[in-house]
């Protein structure tokens, strides 16, 4: 049976569609939904294109599979019997260009709790024997997972495995699985809802790990970790940012954006104690074979105000005493 998760789904558009359906207690027929989506709401895909009939189908199908709407006599109605749906309805802010944090959290709950999404993707992150988890459980217990493209005797395929439990593995061999898992659920979690992040490592592949949906910049845990990682015997300590990302990212469940934002904050406040070390862009993308792959590889690097990609930073030991650092006091 074909999988239903698709990467073209924009959760902003899902919110708009849900809001439209919620205005019609008796439900909405697919044809009405199509006219509304294309002619009135002018819904867009994630890439900014006006939605096609197929995309509208995927949108309502996604809402149905996630258990947010149900179909009664050919009409789509909001599935109000679950409290989580009520929470979502109460939080909806239609018309805004982005999802609010609460909307993201609630949509993420639906995605993580969905059995297909768990079976094909999220279970790979979870320790053996973990059952019936929600977003909090995923964020608390999930461990890093790698995906990579491999040439197999049966042809090219993608392998997804848990780094700590390599026997937890899934092979993706069909285009349907690829669209549903790699470009569907993975994109939803990473790009649309922001509760996993990913960094590409040469020789390994894309390392994915659960991250909190929000948090402060600077992050006090990262400030503390940075301070403790400084070698007191050496005047300067050099850090590989990608190594920091693959260690601190999964440990503190922090996104690259917040991690690098925190390091930029330190640089902006103590420029005399922090030196940003740029990389050669050609080398950073040495294994990229397309401009898309190039962008994907570069997302693992911190980009400074001058647009340079930063691979390392060096930090002077004086940073330990440079300030009282009230930002880390709560930790």
């Amino acid at each position: 049976m074909a999988l239903w998760m698709r990467g073209s789904v924009s959760f902003v558009a899902l919110r708009e569609m849900l809001s439209f359906i919620a205005q019609h207690p008796d439900g909405v027929r697919p044809k009405e939904m199509k006219i509304w989506a294309r002619e009135q709401a002018r819904l867009r895909t994630r890439n900014g294109k006006l939605v096609s009939n197929t995309t509208i189908y995927h949108y309502r199908n996604t809402l149905r599979h996630l258990g947010i709407v149900r179909v009664v006599n050919g009409r789509y109605q909001v599935a109000k019997e679950t409290s989580l749906v009520w929470d979502l309805l109460r939080s909806l802010q239609p018309g805004l260009p982005e999802l609010s944090l609460l909307e993201r959290e609630l949509f993420a709950q639906f995605v993580v709790r969905n059995q297909d999404c768990q079976r094909y993707f999220f279970n790979l992150f979870m320790p053996e024997g973990t059952e019936d988890y929600d977003l909090e459980g995923f964020l608390r217990k999930g461990t890093p997972v790698v995906w990579r493209r491999v040439d197999t005797p049966q042809g090219p395929a993608e392998e997804i495995y848990n780094v700590a439990q390599t026997e937890k593995k899934r092979w993706i061999r069909s285009e349907d699985e690829r669209q549903a898992i790699l470009y569907g659920v993975r994109y939803w979690a990473r790009n649309e809802l922001g509760f996993i992040d990913e960094i590409y490592l040469e020789g390994m592949g894309g390392l994915m790990f659960p991250v909190h949906l929000n948090g402060p910049i600077p992050d006090p845990h990262i400030l503390k970790a940075l301070r403790e990682a400084l070698t007191p015997e050496e005047e300067w300590t050099v850090f590989s940012l990608r190594k920091l990302a693959i260690t601190w990212g999964p440990n503190y469940r922090i996104s690259l954006e917040r991690l690098y934002g925190t390091l930029k904050w330190v640089y902006w406040h103590f420029p005399q104690h922090v030196v940003l070390i740029p990389t050669s862009e050609a080398f950073a993308t040495i294994t990229a074979t397309s401009s898309q792959a190039e962008m994907y590889h570069l997302r693992g690097y911190l980009q400074d105000d001058k647009g340079r990609y930063i691979s390392h930073i060096r930090v002077h030991r004086k940073l330990r005493e440079a300030a009282l650092w009230p930002e880390i006091m709560p930790v």
């Binding site: 040469e202 990608r242 060096r314």
Partner: protein, 394 residues
Amino acid sequence: MAGDYARLKLRFNPFEPAASGVPIFNGLWIPDRWATPLRGFLDEMQHTQGAKAFAILGEYGSGKTYLLRWLEREELPKRRVRAFFFDNPGVQFYDLANTLMRQLGREEFAKALWEFLDPRLQGFQPSLFGRSFQEWLRAIKEHRREEDAVRELSQRLQEKGIASDEEIRHKLARLIMETYERPYFEYRDFVAGRRGALVPEKEEAPYFAAILRALRLTGGAKSVAFLIDEFEEISLQKRLTKRQAHEYLATMKQLINMTEREQFWIFVAMTPQAAEITEQLEPALWERFISHGEHRFQIPPLNMEEAKKLVAHRLAAARPEGDSGPDSLFPFPENLVELLREDVYSSPRRLVKVCSVAVARAASEEIPVPFTAEYLEKIQEELYPRPPQEAPSS
């Protein structure tokens, strides 16, 4: 010379304005913390049979190029090692051959090899006064003895232990002979498989080894060293094809293999990130390259003492004879380094650039000497402004 350097007790500005070059005057100075591990490696290499490769890692402006030039000019000649410097050589193996041969010059290389081989053609009377290389080539041409000459040169290449492979000997012999018509190299000479190419196909490593032996023997050197700068800037184009990325790694592998068999050393300067990626792509290759971490040197940022010494050394080289100035840092104040930010004095490029601008401006304007803290602060902020103080919003 433009500018009044006399009141600064200098003959010229000893700091490069671009601060990415290397001074051409005097001996090159590097801190002991840099020199000691490198000298240790050089001593060890003279008696080793294993891979003779060394990675110098450092951020942009940390002194990688300077360190390679120090090896080339100061340390390697003392050990009778003939050094060749390469800047961003390209991904393919023959890119190195091309760069190397162009550096040497075709006529120079061919002539040196010809002299070393000392070919004798049967029935070809040597001149009473000895022929020059060009005269010999001309005489061969006039007497239509090219084929005999190639055969003889090929024979001599084997006898002298430069190459045993027939094709390689033939290509090298042709390289000498055809110098008469074309005393320069073209890139196509090094594209294997092309008509008239001077390099054999699929024989890159043995051919290159033969060239290395020729360089060593003709120069009376114990070893040949390649100093490769900016290895990470392997391609001018932004994106490498899969094949080019493979070629880059293959080139590196071939070079390392060669250091094991030949009297050949390589020093590669790269950014820490280039080392990191190479290690991730080919862990085994990288481990062999750096001999499990022993043949790797991460250039440490300058400390205050080293920064002060760097400035003093540069100034000393530019002092008028018999006038060393009031103190070794003049026209800079004695506490120069304390006045600069850590991120500035710790980076040789930044330090040299700040000093360069300070001296240049003082040579053309009425700047009080020794320079004041305000003057230096102003230059420092002009060149390396602090980032905006606002933190990103959460």
